[in-house]
Symmetry: C2
Subunit: 697 residues, 2 copies
């Protein structure tokens, strides 16, 4: 799927760099770009352009862009926005491979800036030159000693983490927070205004890199659902967990996000469902973001799933973590009796050898107990992860670090070391042991651990790549005009294999009499011009004889004449009543970010009261439809409560897939679809769409 | 309410201290106690007892306890558990005023220890000597330079904060975390095993102290609901916010809590409801605990309620905080046009002057902009609190600290300074400005702010002290034996003014014929021996004529004979059918911690599916009952959905109060009460308890 514009190796691993607007003035961005390259020890070629200098920081300075050699990998542009298009054209002539525009003054400043930005977009697309920014703090590849930023990010520890951010500030903050817990980014990208390359272009590229183990990001909104979808699929194909802090979920937050980098914040609920269904790790604050990256990077993924063991020197911390485990749906292991017996041999008699294991404050007297306890507990069959909690007592516990590090290195289980309340000096000593995954506080440790475990657990169930291959229905190219009435809407659904009640449109009492009916029947006036039909007596239920049918027909015709004398009537729809079942609602809408999306909701009081709806971009495959159904808050209703048995969830999933394919076929010509309700019958008996309305443009 | 045992001034502000088991051996607790007193500069009298020393660290050492003067305020006991009772008896003879037992080896070690502990309890109660511990790390009063602990807690900043903890470890961790954000505790209490004085005794005492502004705590479980209730009332009467991290909420967590300090973890849901209804500030992690204490201590409570202004140098942080505000239900203010105009004058043209205000990275060039922006925004009428977000750029922003501190000091609005990613040195400089409330990360800032705002907002609505004074029903002393059948249960409810359907118990068909009935009727077999009556055809609904009533009577009698030939039948209950309405359930249970408690749940599918229930200790007053009703997840159903109008919530609240008083009167003689359902009719038409069962011991 990578087009030339998406191959970002020239931007993120450049062998040669030019800086347009390089400066010798230490207060200027154009200087910082150069000095940062020098400080980090960049080993590629560096070309500076500024007619007023001969050299800056040892690098030679060229008079003009036209003096530059051809095919430079990356050009950093730090000129005023007024000059930028001219610079870009010149760079194109030098056949440069990628560009970063660091200066601001574009869409974030108003209309003129936005116009200029769209010129940049056009340029990038037409010339197939990937462009980062404008209004970015830049990018870095710390492992390859490359930085293209005016921000003074120093290389930290060297972990296989890539980080992409739509906010420079949050990016640098995450960078700092990650340093504080002893991890460092390999790649760092601030995507800026994304005139050329966007958030998910970077994600897509990084997902394919061998030198990346996990990707983190700060996301305000995606610009292009298909890009996002492909990037996320690339993450899964390459087994790269993607950890996102997605903001702009609140109404005001979304507004602020839109005014911030002019990205589309999008419908929070669709993001929520989409990210959840695609096993993207969502975090809710800054610390959880970097903590989760640390656990992904610094711990192994155990082959065998078990539960978590909590080993502490404090009962309180054990309780806090146990509570949090339950909240986050992590199993706290039952330890085997043999484990407990072994623990009894190494721990004081008043210690608790049940999980959470409370070694008691006694361990301060003999820290080797800690190592014994960790080793014994890690060997337990039911344990896949262990959190060791200690606090303060800095000088005494420092002695266990080498052995703890050995265990972390050699164990095939996940080990997190939560040592709280320690001094800065102690922290530095802990972080020198690069194999130890250290998280400062117990709640934070469990939050991060639960994110990582959830990712791997869910990953086992997900089957990717199916979406494009299998379509249940034949692809069609449909166009509809205006609103389809109920009868027409149902005919269309029928074409897609969705069961609707058996019935017929009639226009006279004779039509009614000529037909063989299976009672009870429903009769409805059909007109795309009349809404709220039941309120006007235009719907009759439970008709159980020919005689009653005739009377019902007459009543409906009279009511129609009385209430809506001038509105067009397409006929009367006579249908057999559908068997009982549980009501759900299926709808469709066209989301700005996600395109055609399908909405599933519980029917009746649930939808009104609890807004129990799930939205997902179309089309879906069967697996996704099932997951969508199961993510309803009141899914339990479909599984059967109050002596009711499970309803036909399998068929419901299939029908959702069919409808999702239908709305893809209808494309732009549909503005709304509303099937309310679909009755889901008991298992094996399918579903019936008893009312339907499709509104075209 | 304070008994002599509850007056803890001798323990927490002692003028004289004795140490039993003082030691010159630096590795021992008995030495640490002494050296800590010396180090902190304790100014009261210190008496040490140990026959083997003449003096330790300048303090003279006595041979025996009998050598001590009378009426010493506080005695620290650090002897083995085997000797402790003997020591206590001797101390009693010296008429000491309070005791702390620091050694461990009691209930936490097993049965023998538990027995010893109950002897300590008995001693404390009989002699009216408050005892802290055993198994405590001790207490401190840093402001008065007093510490009774073997832990090396150094006095930090000097804020009017009291902190009580059931886990020594979590206490010292909170102490460290609070230091990191520049606040310090005045009082610190680790309650240990609570053989004498318990968590809420300390809270009660501290609530009454002038020198305490806010109380924080780590709670695993209360031992005595009445103590807890009184302590919390004392907090409210003295306007002391109580911020609790309550753990042991999960099943495993509760188990661990019980084995930890032998406290009763109690029913998580009742705690939840009780704490919520009493406006206790609940926090969910260690950082939120100390952050919230910081905001309570370091910011003013604005007289006029408005919204929050977010002032940042980064769009991203603004979005993060806006999202979190919505999640935490805080209003982000609309700024007045005049404010925006003023901001436009001081900020760059591309800054955003809408809330969140984005000053842009430009502020790094001219930090005075920050002060101007804060001053202008704080003056906005719609703003009651302001969070200023900056990040890194340490050297440049240091210059604003003095002016920011002045604003914090003089403003009558709440100001939080969130400066992220700064170095340790910068942090120290920030924290020197004692008026500035500094929180390191944006999410943490909003979490803490929302806790504090919620407390003050809720406080306006709460009317305390009513509970004891007004009883709706007359107090009775009832005893019931065994299970009351439906008829008897309803008669009892009627005595308490709860409406039940009009009806009569009959035992023959003649009884039925002799009565004037208003149809439709319900008929039910009444027997305390038969359950699931409808399943056996023992209930008939919608009986609308005399004839049908006779037939129904016969059918029920036949079914009874067929299904339960040997079980006793008390008669047939004939009742008029209650009008329609919304079903709720009211139940009662006897909780180990909270005593008689009342349970309210939504009826029908809601209770089964969504476990939508609220539990609260009895009795309640009308205000609490209303709050209980409103805290149902599906409260909206009672307010009216789907064209249904609001039901009679007022009468429901009154009925809950009446039932809560009834179960208090029934006391121990009741094990369960189940009124399922109570039908709540439309507004003005009251409620009807249509089924009821009271099970006695």
């Amino acid at each position: 799927m990578l087009t030339k514009t998406n191959d970002l190796s020239s931007m993120l691993s450049p062998k040669s760099i030019a800086v347009i607007g390089a400066s010798g003035d230490k207060r200027k961005i154009g200087y910082k770009l150069v000095s940062n390259l020098k400080e980090i020890g960049y080993e590629g070629k560096v070309y500076l352009v500024n007619p007023r200098y001969e050299q800056i920081e040892e690098y030679p300075c060229y008079q003009n862009i036209t003096d530059l050699p051809l095919n430079i990998d990356l050009v950093l542009v730090s000129v005023s926005s007024a000059k930028v298009m001219e610079v870009l054209e010149q760079l194109n002539e030098r056949q440069v491979r990628s560009i970063i525009i660091l200066s601001s003054g574009y869409a974030e400043t108003g209309e003129a800036g936005a116009k200029l930005e769209s010129e940049i977009s056009k340029f990038s697309l037409e010339k197939s030159i990937p462009i980062c920014g404008p209004n970015t703090i830049g990018v870095a590849n710390f492992k390859e000693r490359f930085i293209a930023s005016f921000s003074s990010l120093k290389p930290a520890a060297d972990d296989s983490i890539a980080f992409v951010t739509q906010s420079g500030a949050l990016g640098t903050l995450s960078y700092t927070l990650s340093k504080e817990i002893g991890i460092g980014f390999h790649y760092f990208v601030s995507s800026g205004n994304e005139a050329g390359t966007d958030f998910f272009d970077y994600i897509h590229y990084l997902a394919g890199r061998q030198d990346v183990k996990v990707i983190g990001g700060y996301l305000e909104g995606a610009r292009d659902f298909n890009k996002m979808d492909h990037a996320i699929k690339a993450c899964h194909e390459n087994k790269k967990p993607l950890v996102l802090m997605k903001v702009g979920n609140s109404k005001k937050g979304a507004e602020a996000a839109t005014s911030h980098t002019a990205s589309i914040a999008g419908n929070a609920e669709i993001y929520e469902n989409y990210l959840e269904l695609n096993n993207i790790v969502r975090v809710s604050d800054e610390e959880e973001l970097t903590d989760t990256l640390a656990v992904f990077t610094k711990t192994v993924n155990p082959e065998k799933l078990g539960g978590v063991a909590l080993v502490t020197q404090s009962g309180g911390a054990g309780i806090i973590m146990t509570d949090r485990c339950e909240e986050r749906k992590i199993a706290v292991s039952e330890l085997a009796n043999s484990t407990k017996m072994k623990l009894n041999q190494v721990l004081p008699s008043f210690a608790s050898v049940k999980n959470p294991v409370d070694m008691t404050a006694q361990v301060a007297q003999s820290p080797e107990m800690i190592i014994d306890t960790v080793e014994i507990t890690l060997q337990d069959e039911n344990v896949d992860s262990l959190v060791l909690y200690l606090q303060m007592t800095d000088e005494k516990f420092l002695t266990i670090l080498p052995r703890l590090s050995d265990i972390a290195k050699s164990s095939n289980k996940r080990l997190i070391f939560c040592w709280s309340g320690i001094s800065e000096e102690t922290k530095e000593k802990v972080l020198k042991h690069r194999d130890i995954c250290w998280i400062p506080n117990p709640t934070r440790a469990i939050n991060a651990l639960s994110n990582v475990r959830k990712y791997y657990r869910n990953n086992r169930g997900i089957e990717y790549g199916k979406k494009e291959k299998t379509r249940i229905t034949d692809e069609k190219h449909l166009k509809i005009n205006g609103t389809l009435n109920e009868w027409e809407s149902k005919q269309l659904l029928k074409e897609y294999g969705v069961t609707v009640p058996k019935g017929k449109m009639i226009t006279s009492i004779r039509d009614l009499e000529n037909e063989q009916w299976t009672f009870p029947l429903v009769m409805k006036a059909v007109s795309s011009k009349i809404e709220h039909k039941s309120d006007y007596g235009l719907v009759e239920l439970n008709i159980n004889s020919h005689e009653k049918a005739s009377r019902a027909y007459k009543r409906i015709m009279e009511n129609k004449k009385a209430c809506h004398p001038t509105r067009e009537l397409d006929g009367i729809l006579v249908e057999e009543m559908a068997p009982v079942g549980t009501e759900v609602i299926v709808g469709a809408l066209n989301d700005e970010t996600f395109g055609p999306s399908i909405m599933l909701g519980m029917g009746g009081v649930f939808v009104e009261l609890m807004k129990d709806v799930v939205i997902h971009p179309a089309p879906l495959n069967h697996y996704q439809a099932l997951k969508m159904i199961k993510s309803l808050k009141n899914y339990q209703v479909l599984e059967g409560v109050r002596n009711k048995s499970r309803v036909d969830i399998e068929v419901l999933a299939e029908v959702i897939v069919r409808i999702s394919e239908m709305i893809i076929d209808l494309g732009d010509s549909i503005t709304e679809l509303d099937i309310n309700p679909i009755i889901v019958h008991e298992k094996g008996k399918g579903v019936t769409a008893v009312d339907a309305l499709i509104i075209g443009k």
